[in-house]
Amino acid sequence: MKNYLNCETTIWSWLSTKDHKRIGVMFLVSVTLFLLVGGVFALILRLEHLTPGPTLVSPNMYNQLFTLHGVVMVWLFLIPAIPAGFGNFFLPIMLGAKDVAFPRLNLASLYIFWIGAILTIYGVLDRAADTGWTFYPPYSSQTYTKATPVLLGVFVLGWSTIITGVNFITTIHTLRAKGMRFMDMPLFAWALYGVSIIQILGTPVLGIILLMVVMDHSFDWGLFDPARGGDPLIYQHIFWFYSHPAVYIMILPPMGVVSEIVTSMAHKNPLSYKAIAYSTFGIAFVGFLTWGHHMFTSGMSELNAGIFGILSMGVAVFSAIKVFTWTGTLYRGSVWIRTPLVYIFAFLFLFIFGGMTGVAVAATSLDVHWHDTYFVVAHFHFIMVGASLTAFLAALHYWWPKITGKMYFEGWGVAGAILVFLGFVGTFFPQFLLGNAGMPRRYYHYSEQFQALNVLSTAGSWVLALGLLLVLVTLIWSLVAGEKAPANPWNSRSYEWMTPSPPPKENFPETPRFVRGPYDYHLPLEPP
């Protein structure tokens, strides 16, 4: 049967496609590639910390590695992964549309992403940037390394993000199927709506401030150089005005994935659809007012710090609403424990852990102790890897049959999930203890008393790498040897499962009529 994969097969038909599904697939392949690149940097970093002194790389190279690890993981993997990859693929299908509102712009966003990625990678090859992914001036204005291509690369990547956001909001407003109200949309669409707002309003602020650093670095403008009257704190404020909400760019789409998988696997409508939808906007809104908590130790009044601290804790309230709704949805559902749900269990555990430590570091008194230590490193990796990456892997398994038309191998899938979980905890849990004991982040050397936990963390990183490799190999193998996927392997009620796997070019064989909600599990499943 003709579907979006085999309707045209030339390479040019992919490179010039306006099909949101193919664009989504190309994004997924690209970000997976960059996950590997960033992962290799991380492995080298962990190896370096196997011993307190020099182990593998020079001090300069260490600085470059943690910079590039951060830049690649944040802007080339975490931010585009779920929205530009799965979002592009599934948003129009979930709305019963044939495509996103602006298909040509959508293709442009892919090319802009590639151009940004090439610029960034060019900055990696020789005299790689060593500023940290935060590019704090005045150091970033003065470093001898090639900060400019990396900064410009991130600026360009920002436009890809903005275009995706514009496309998604317009699609949701104008291309819902006849009769579908906002409150009938699958929850993943709400998550994408929330994240698009942040992408549109946050990203340009980052873009302009990074351009100013480029001017400082390449043309010696001195805007943030204290010796010439500049104020680096202004940079920090503006940088975090984007980069804190950027955390929610990385976590809101995963939350949408969790909502989809939990309802599908529990075969039950969400405990509260509205609570999940509205709390998305709570997070998106409050997220814009918390940036100061990155700067408690860089000179901030007690009043400001207090306000930022309390607002930051507000994020936890909305997150908790979601977590309780998800667990409440699982309660007394007819739960199918399959690979995606195993990842979601990992997500829930790690997200709660990462979130609670986030509340802790939002308390100013505690933050002074933990600031710039491995405690913070562990905290944000629990959110970005523990939550975002596991949700990405959950989504990859959950939607694999729909995207590729093949079933993944259930046994290997569960094994991969368990390895990833154990490897992750092994890598990052020791870092909480290290940070609490006072080990600073971004230092080449560390004191000898920290070695045992560092060895444990490095060992964990290899388990995590092994797990990810297992996932990659078995998924690729399933393309060859996997069983043919049915249209709806999960008995889900969500709309993307109402079309064949893989979907035809125009998403549905005929114009879909959604006569029931996406979570109406009390109704019998209609034949596909």
Binding site: K98, A101, V166, H173, T174, P204, I208, M215, L223, G229
Partner: protein, 216 residues
Amino acid sequence: MNLAVPKLQHHFEDLPKQAHAARLGMWLFLASEALFFSGLFTLYAAYRAHYPEIFREGVAHNDLVLGTVNTFILLTGSLFLSLALWALRAARRALSVLLTAATGLAGLVYLIIKATEWAHHMAEGIFPGGRGRFFVENPEPAWAIFYTSYYGLTGFHAIHVTVGVGILAWTAWWMHRERVGPAAAYKLAIVGLYWHFVDIVWLFLWPLFYLLRNPA
């Protein structure tokens, strides 16, 4: 007369919906652009709070007449563009093409005047990054900060004006070549949204760099 109707793309149910999507997309893009400039305005505000006196003197040093003439030119251009939209909706294409081109011309004049101002500054030895003769005579670092943010803000705005002039020229040519009619007016309206936005940004730059010059 061929009143060309825009093509309906396959994923929209009807033309009004397609037009609605295009308008909404432009508004969202402008929201993004507004935040882009807000970063620069924040820089200005923060540095003005740091160095109120020198920023005031710097503003007084700028040419009030040229800045105000430029404001007048941009606003006149925007008026032309609004009239162009009215003309196209009234199916008076030739007039609409003329008015759109006139808007582009106004943008061009604006750029020439702006470039003249920059040339004046450079003749005085004022370059971005605190380079030049002027900063030897006025060594307080705040002067360099003021003029660097001046070049930064007006420069980014000028880039937007340049893009706008290009779009206006292309739009005028496209309306003429395709012999478009009222059904395509929404496309001109979207170009207008962008152009008016660029105008409004200048309406903030004008006080910040030309008007706020009197001692408190």
